[in-house]
Amino acid sequence: MKSAVIVFPGSNCDRDLAVALEQVTGRKPAMVWHRESELPDGVDFIGVPGGFSYGDYLRSGAMAARSPVMQAVKDAAARGVPVIGICNGFQVLTEAGLLPGALMRNARLSFVCRPVPLRVENSQSLFTAQYGAKEEIVFPVAHHDGNYQADEATLDRIEGEGRVAFRYLDEVNGSARRIAGILNDAGNVLGLMPHPERVIEPAHGGTDGRRLFEGLLETVA
């Protein structure tokens, strides 16, 4: 699997994601700076990492979503290349219009940083095929703007189409219907606030994230 990790000024989970990808795929991802207008040839997986791109100026992910590299990411997504956006990456993907809805300030206004239990709502996707149906797993979250909101019609549609990939078991940040992660309509773009790349090996305190990358490797490679 030839993967690429996008790096914005203020990204800070890009290295975690790179390490996770290298451990699982055995191959170092290409780190692609936001000013690039093209992705390396033959990329078959793109990761948009967490962090605080552009200092969260204007809105979280707003500036990053308009940076030159994102056009290349959009083009690749349209060709069916799998794209994952984690935390700030999820915010970037919604701002870029690759995923519906928006991520707003946490309902209680506080930064939330702890492991949270999740339910895998769709275990048939490109990203979640290694999980059992409705399996309960734990990923850490670390965010201030993770409150997922969309209008009722959009929420009904993504629920109906099985595009809610992960749901919080408990109240975490005020997200509508406790949505933690969603898929695009084609199923090749996933955005989620929790961090699978931070639970890859036992030393992390959990390994539930590993199967997400293993599943990708199996489908993509």
Binding site: L58, A62, R66, E95, P100, A102, M104, N147, Q149, A150
Partner: protein, 79 residues
């Protein structure tokens, strides 16, 4: 030429910041505040002759996230 863009959350979109400000005002003893909504104002210094359509385009493409926000443009008379 200057213009101001006022960005506000759409009706019905929960505004935790506005709520916190509301509570703080009540804590300071201000009564009679029914609700608080927080937004932002962006001031643009523009070349003369910049069209309304161009400013609207700026709002739609970057300044506002129209999934959750409304915007209103106000042109300022040059002194």
């Amino acid at each position: 030429m200057k213009a101001r863009v006022f960005i506000t959350l759409k009706n019905g979109v929960l505004d935790p910041q506005g709520k916190a400000i509301h509570h703080a005002l009540e804590g300071l003893g201000f009564s009679g505040v029914n609700d608080v909504r927080a937004g932002k104002m962006i001031e643009l210094d523009l070349a003369d002759g910049t069209s309304d359509a161009a400013i609207e385009d700026m709002c739609r493409k970057l300044l506002a996230n129209t999934v959750i926000e409304n915007f209103r443009i106000e042109r300022l008379e040059t002194a």
